[in-house]
Symmetry: C3
């Protein structure tokens, strides 16, 4: 059953959405929808110890996984490996193996280096599952899943006529990469990517996407606008001239949103920079599905934890 | 049922003791007394997720709420919003809404700004309850309640012949403000406030109190001495000349305590500055109810969480 | 029943292995072996609140106790008293008494000062148990127990023909001290201690041990090699010339390990400095019991918590 979830080569882990089969993706989303609707199996993971092992801090994602694990009856432990005293210079792999030896069966791992989560998963003992909670710029698969669940709730299961635009700093975004993998797998008919050239990734990442730096044009007739957070450090790096200019060119306003389809929804992975990539009016408006995304995050993580750790 | 607890305008929250009805206050104290006596209903909040959301750190208060929530069977989550990386510059309201969207039903919120907790509560979704764990200098209602429970255990339910003195930095104390509201509501016959003029609040806060800077006089015949913590920063601010001088004028010693009524009790919200506002002899003496206060804190928080979150 | 565990004078605590009776030691190890084998009594501590009270941070030890407490059904709270804001200058004893007053019945305490844990235990209320999770250079009794359990699993219950060497910074090691007490109590026939003179403790600590600074000689025919972590600060203190030199003289390599008995096992309390006191080949080799030690840590802590807190 667990192998239903599996990425090739790692049937007990969820390391990314790249290469996940369409059947597996739909199965996870259907199960997450059951949890989102309030039906829970509260003891699926009773007595199972799950550890959030974060080499890069993220309170919000950790909290969401924590709630998901608790609702399934798991014991949850938090290990913030980003504080130096926690590991005293031991290798990441030794930290992982040590906690694994304590009897922890599920690991929710975040790391700033691309591929670091997969590297740990490759060393996992039999019966131990690793879920990627974000690695470098590569993948954030549960964010990708919750975005798909949110799209599915608003637009239905069939993505074949959906027009979606992803806007902003795609280059540095693991969220965007996971979204792109998932949208392609689900057969989304038109994926647009919009942002300044300095924030666009390589051609491989953009395969199959319509790319533009013209936000107005990119919005035309889309069913969903997926905004990305602008990290302040992009300014220091010289990739963005100023917040004002970024807002002028890539900030989602109510006026701009009118270019999208009448029932278009707005998404954002949070935390938001209000007044930069999104205005209050849009963030809090009727089109916004931003809080649905947060709610779906818990449901998706329940589905994932159950799939990789359940009997 | 929940409305039994309610402050006007916020039936599902506990934001302060200002304006709480005497009936509601007594009901909460009676229920807390049941918990204090060891009778628990361990599953009253089974499966309910409660989050301590602290924009200002306080390990001790957080721990007390955590124990209260656990004993009621709730899932407890801790979010320390005082560390910058936790929120990445998002607004407090977005942080609150995000955690709420995850399915958290109870919030225990501390904030350094007056009114900030009420502002979040005003945005709470239906069925979500907010408990003020201290905001600015305004209120710390569960501390007020535990102080009243401690008084009630020592002196009985009828406060109409009670003489109480509150001593120290009333100006900056949310504890004192909540205590004053509760003492007035419960009909305490004589409320004295004592401290140097530099640490006394405005006249409104002191309404109905006998105010003096003479500690010896203030102690005369009182049934309870409620000491306040002296924050070290009051010296840097020039509000207190020195710790020695403060101790000489406002430190509670055994000798001074003899001025109080024979069965007078001593209270302190902790953490204590031993040798400053209170001597070891008094803190650890037979009149001290300081550890009872701590124990009552858990009982009171159980009663509050049950009242705002229970069915 | 609790007195089965007892150190003289503190029947409800586990403060150290110095003075523990051989019967009590065996009883704890037998019970831990039951837990290590996967047999648990998940509700032995149902509803009991256990607090990790760490005046010196240690994520790894805290996590192990946390897992042990959770598996016994306890409520677990973490109090990191090493961060200044947590205690606002109150005394350690007031912090302890405050948490005790909240109804916490079990304390797992770490402190950088020798004897500080025992000092708190001396003030514990009836029915409250204190477990030493490491104090100064004195004792780390659960580490000593898990080391004995690991030896017992590999070499059998009878320690009377066992040859063991402890290698490295014995002077500053509470782990080594607890190990020495336990090995003597269990009747280990030959205890060798090896390290540079600058890292050897006083003669009392070394009573009954064969002491040498020649690692090769010390390894000759031993059944177990217990390596210690080299703290980097020993260099700054001038006690060790360089990591390279330390590795040359006291690093455990595969070549050196051949001097030990054919079935000799290798132990290390972690976290390891790979390439300093131990090579990758040995740490990850077939003789290594380092991850077994970690697994045994949870089992031993379950046995200890059950013994001091169970009915």
């Amino acid at each position: 059953m667990n192998s239903q979830l599996g990425i090739i080569g790692s049937p007990h882990h969820l390391l990314g959405l790249d290469g996940i089969s369409v059947d597996r993706l739909h199965a996870l989303l259907r199960r997450a929808q059951v949890f989102a609707a309030g039906e829970e199996s509260p003891n699926a993971l009773a007595g199972v110890a799950v550890c959030t092992l974060f080499f890069e801090p993220s309170t919000r994602t950790r909290l969401s996984f924590q709630l998901a694990a608790q609702r399934l009856g798991a014991h949850i432990l938090n290990f913030d490996a980003s504080t130096s005293s926690a590991t005293k210079g031991e290798t990441d792999l030794d930290t992982f193996r040590t906690i694994q030896a304590m009897g922890v069966r599920g690991f929710v791992v975040r790391h700033k280096a691309d591929g670091a989560v997969a590297a740990l998963a490759a060393e996992a003992a039999p019966g131990v599952a690793v879920v990627n909670a974000g690695d470098g710029r590569s993948e954030h698969p549960t964010q990708g899943l919750l975005d798909m669940l949110t799209l599915r709730q608003a637009k239905g299961e069939d993505f074949s006529r959906l027009k979606v635009v992803i806007v902003g700093d795609v280059k540095h975004s693991r969220v965007a990469r996971s979204d792109l993998h998932a949208l392609r797998t689900l057969g989304c008919s038109e994926i647009r990517v919009c942002g300044p050239a300095s924030l666009l990734p390589d051609a491989g990442t953009l395969a199959g996407c319509a790319v533009t730096d013209d936000f107005d044009a990119a919005l035309d007739g889309v069913d969903a606008v997926m905004m990305l957070r602008l990290q302040r450090e992009r300014m220091a790096e010289g990739l963005v001239a100023s917040l004002d200019e970024y807002h002028r060119d890539y900030g989602l306003t109510s006026a701009r949103l009118r270019r999208a389809a009448p029932e278009a929804i707005v998404m954002h992975p949070g935390p938001m920079n209000r007044g930069v990539e999104i205005t209050d009016e849009v963030a809090d408006g009727s089109r916004s599905r931003i809080l649905d995304q947060v709610a779906n995050g818990v449901a998706v993580r329940m589905a994932v934890l159950e799939a990789v750790l359940g009997r």
